[in-house]
C-alpha cells in the first residue's frame, strides 16, 4: 500500500491515519478534534471549487481544507496502519 494523504482520498473512502505532519499549533488542534495515529477516518464529501473536505472520525465530523488534509498521512482501508 503506497503512502497517501487525506487529500488524495475519494468520497466515501475509508482510511486509517498513519501520521500527522503539521506544525505544533495545528497538530494540537487536530489531536483535540480526534485525529490520532491508528484512528479510522472516512471522507464524507468534498465541496465544489476545490473547497474543503468533510471527514468523519467516530462521532465527530470535521471540515478542513485540502491544504491541511495533505498533512495527514493515511493508508486506505480499516486497520492498515
Amino acid at each position: 500500500m503506497s503512502a497517501s494523504t487525506l487529500a488524495t482520498l475519494k468520497q466515501g473512502d475509508l482510511a486509517t491515519i498513519v501520521a500527522i505532519h503539521a506544525d505544533q499549533a495545528l497538530h494540537q488542534r487536530l489531536l483535540a478534534l480526534g485525529f490520532r495515529k491508528g484512528k479510522q477516518i472516512e471522507l464524507v464529501r468534498q465541496a465544489v471549487f476545490s473547497g474543503p473536505l468533510q471527514v468523519r472520525l467516530g462521532t465527530t465530523d470535521v471540515v478542513l481544507r485540502r491544504n491541511e488534509a495533505s498533512k495527514i498521512e493515511v493508508c486506505k482501508g480499516a486497520g492498515c496502519a
Partner: protein, 595 residues
C-alpha cells in the same frame, strides 16, 4: 465567595447549562466559539452564595487563539474552587483528552457528560460509575438543554464545594507536557466504560446534509433559505410595525396631548414632537426585531452556520478569508458587535483584522429598521421585499469588494479546521430567551442613545428660537446646507443629511430623527417621505446608510478588539469613502439612465 468555573471544549453546552443554573441570559447557539468572553452569575447553593463563571470553550490547554488564552489566564490568575468540566457525551472518545489535561492541574473537578440524550440516540452507552471509579472523579450524565440529570449534578456540585480549594500547580506548562501519558490513559478508561457502535446508524443529520451540502444545490439552497427568511420577516413584521406605530400615535392623541396641555409650548414640543415621536417611531420596530432574532436563533441553533462555512469556504479563500469569516458576516446580520468579538477564534492576526474590516458591512438589525421603514414608504408591497433583499446582496458585495482590495495587506496562512455539529433544534424556552435578550438590548440602547439623539435633533431643528422649526434658518438647516455640496451629488437632501449625522451614533436614531425633523410619525412620516423623495434618492440614501460606519458601539468594539487606533480610523475612513462612492455611482447612473 466560592467560585465555580464551567470548562469544556467549544459547543458542549456550557452556556446552556450556565443559563439553567443562574437563570441568566448567555447567548447560546450550535456553533463552536459562540461564547468568547467570561460571563458570571451568582446563585445560592447549599446555603451559600456561589459565583458561576461561563468560560469560552477550549480544545486543549495549549491553545493559541485569543479566546483560549482568556481561559488560560483566568485559570492561572484565579484558581476556581470547583471546575465543572462539561464534555459532549457523544464525543467522549476525543473530549476526554481535555478532562485528563485538566485533571493534571489538580483542581477540584466535577465532570458532567452533557447531551446524554443525543448520545443515547447514537447508541453510545457510558458506564459513568465505572468511569468515575477509574478516574477518581465524580461523573454525571446530563442533558443541559432538557434538564434530565440536572438535580443530581447540582447535588454533586454542592457537595464538592465543601472540599478545600487546592492550590494551582506551579509549573502549569511542564504539567501539560505529559500528553503521552494522557493518550494511554484515555484508551484505558474508554475501553472499560464506553461502548460506541462500530457502524453509526444513519441519522437525520446525514440525510439533511445530503441535500443541504449537495455539491451543486448547496449554495442555491443557502440563498433560497436566506431569501425566504428575509421575505418572511418583512411580510410578518411590517404589518406588526405599522400596527404598533398606529397604537402609539393613538396614545399620543388620546392621552398625552391632554396631559402636557398645561406646559409651555417649547416643553410640550420637546416632549411630544421630540422625545415621544422619535422614541415611538423607533419603538414600533420592537416586534420586527424580536421576530428577526427568533429566526436568527433558529438558524444559529440548528447547526446550519457550520454548513454555510463549509459551502462558502472555497469562495472566501479567494478573498483571503475563510468559512468562519462568512459565518461572522451572517452573525453580523443580527448585530455587528458580537460578530466582531466572534473573530477571537481566529489565531492569525492578519485574518482577524481582514475579517473585522468586512464585518461592519453586514446589514445589522438596526439598519434593517431603517430599510423596512423606507422601502415600505417608497416602494409597492410587491417590490419592497425585493428591494430589501437587494440591499443584503449589496451588503455582501461591499464586504467582498473590500476583502479583495485589501487581502494582500492582510495575508495569512491560518489553517481552516472546523467541527460540523449535528443539526439540533432550539427549545421554545431558548428562543423566547433570545427574543427577551434582544428586547432588553434594544431598550438599553434606546435609553442610552436614542433619547439623547432625538432630543439633540429636536434642539437642532428648533434653535435658534427665532427661526421657523425645521426651516433652513435653524441650526440643522445650516449644517444641512453646509454639507450640501458633499451630499447633493448622491441625491441626499438636507433633512436626510441630519439623520445620517445622527445615524453615526446608532442606526436606530435615523428613523427617530427623521420623525423629529419632519415633526411627523408613523404613516404621516411615510407619506411625507414618499412625497418628497423619489425611489432613486431613497435607494441612494439606503446604500449610504448600509455602507458607512454602523454605530459608535461597533467602532468602540473594533478599537478594543484590534487594539490599534490607526486600523480603527482606517476602517472608519474606508467605509465612509466606499459609501459615498457607491451612492454616487448608483445615483448618477440611475439619473443618467433617465430614472
Amino acid at each position: 465567595m466560592k467560585r465555580i468555573a464551567l470548562l469544556g471544549m467549544p459547543n458542549t453546552g456550557k452556556s446552556t447549562l450556565f443559563n439553567r443554573m443562574t437563570g441568566g441570559a448567555a447567548r447560546v447557539g450550535n456553533w463552536p466559539g459562540i461564547t468568547v468572553e467570561l460571563l458570571s452569575g451568582k446563585i445560592l447553593l447549599g446555603g451559600d452564595m456561589v459565583e458561576i463563571i461561563d468560560l469560552p470553550g477550549i480544545y486543549d490547554l495549549h491553545g493559541f487563539s485569543d479566546d483560549e488564552q482568556v481561559v488560560r489566564h483566568f485559570l492561572h490568575d484565579n484558581v476556581p474552587d470547583l471546575a465543572l468540566v462539561i464534555l459532549n457525551a457523544t464525543q467522549i472518545e476525543r473530549q476526554m483528552s481535555l478532562l485528563l489535561q485538566l485533571k493534571q492541574l489538580n483542581m477540584n473537578v466535577v465532570v458532567l457528560l452533557n447531551m446524554s440524550d443525543e448520545a443515547r440516540k447514537y447508541g453510545i452507552t457510558i458506564d459513568s460509575g465505572k468511569m468515575s471509579e477509574m478516574l477518581g472523579l465524580p461523573i454525571y450524565l446530563l442533558s443541559g438543554k432538557y434538564g434530565a440529570g440536572y438535580q443530581d449534578a447540582i447535588q454533586a456540585v454542592t457537595k464538592a464545594l465543601r472540599y478545600p480549594t487546592p492550590g494551582m500547580a506551579e509549573q502549569l506548562r511542564s504539567q501539560l507536557e505529559q500528553d503521552e501519558h494522557i493518550e494511554s490513559e484515555m484508551v484505558r478508561v474508554l475501553r472499560h466504560s464506553v461502548q460506541v457502535p462500530v457502524q453509526m446508524p444513519e441519522h437525520l443529520t446525514d440525510k439533511l446534509d445530503r441535500v443541504m451540502l449537495h455539491p451543486w444545490l448547496g449554495l442555491p439552497i443557502f440563498f433560497g433559505i436566506m431569501y425566504l427568511l428575509f421575505q418572511g420577516i418583512f411580510l410578518l413584521g411590517q404589518p406588526l410595525q405599522g400596527g404598533v406605530a398606529e397604537a402609539l400615535s393613538w396614545l399620543r392623541g388620546a392621552a398625552l396631548e391632554a396631559a402636557v396641555a398645561g406646559a409651555p409650548p417649547w416643553l410640550s414640543g420637546l416632549l411630544l414632537d421630540g422625545i415621544y415621536n422619535g422614541v415611538a417611531t423607533v419603538a414600533a420596530f420592537v416586534p420586527i426585531i424580536v421576530l428577526f432574532f427568533l429566526f436568527m436563533a433558529m438558524v444559529e441553533d440548528s447547526g446550519y452556520l457550520s454548513r454555510a462555512a463549509f459551502l462558502m469556504d472555497a469562495l472566501m479563500a479567494r478573498m483571503g478569508l475563510d468559512g468562519r469569516g462568512f459565518v461572522m458576516l451572517l452573525m453580523g446580520f443580527g448585530c455587528n458587535v458580537p460578530a466582531l468579538m466572534g473573530t477571537r477564534v481566529m489565531r492569525s492576526r492578519s485574518m482577524r483584522l481582514l475579517t473585522m474590516l468586512v464585518i461592519p458591512f453586514s446589514l445589522c438589525s438596526a439598519r434593517l429598521q431603517v430599510f423596512v421603514f423606507i422601502t415600505a414608504a417608497l416602494f409597492s408591497p410587491q417590490h419592497a421585499p425585493l428591494v430589501l433583499f437587494s440591499l443584503y446582496l449589496f451588503s455582501f458585495a461591499a464586504a467582498i469588494l473590500t476583502a479583495l482590495l485589501f487581502r494582500n495587506k492582510f495575508q495569512s496562512t491560518e489553517p481552516f479546521v472546523l467541527e460540523l455539529p449535528p443539526y439540533r433544534f432550539p427549545t421554545l424556552r431558548q428562543m423566547l430567551l433570545r427574543g427577551w435578550i434582544e428586547v432588553r438590548h434594544f431598550l438599553s440602547r434606546a435609553t442610552q442613545f436614542i433619547v439623547a439623539g432625538v432630543v439633540l435633533v429636536w434642539l437642532l431643528t428648533n434653535l435658534p428660537s427665532s427661526a421657523v422649526p425645521g426651516s433652513a434658518d435653524t441650526l440643522a438647516g445650516m449644517i444641512g446646507s453646509a454639507l450640501h455640496p458633499i451630499f447633493a451629488p448622491i441625491g441626499i437632501n438636507e433633512q436626510l443629511t441630519i439623520a445620517l449625522i445622527f445615524g453615526f451614533v446608532a442606526k436606530e436614531i435615523v428613523i427617530g430623527s427623521l420623525a423629529v425633523i419632519y415633526g411627523l410619525s408613523g404613516d404621516a412620516l411615510s407619506g411625507a417621505l414618499g412625497q418628497q423623495l423619489d425611489w432613486v434618492q431613497a435607494y441612494s440614501f439606503m446604500l449610504f446608510t448600509l455602507v458607512y460606519t454602523p454605530c459608535l458601539s461597533t467602532i468602540a468594539t473594533l478599537r478594543s478588539e484590534a487594539k490599534d487606533m490607526r486600523y480603527t480610523l482606517f476602517t472608519l475612513g474606508w467605509s465612509l469613502a466606499l459609501a459615498w462612492a457607491l451612492s454616487f455611482v448608483f445615483y448618477q447612473s440611475a439619473r443618467a439612465l433617465g430614472y
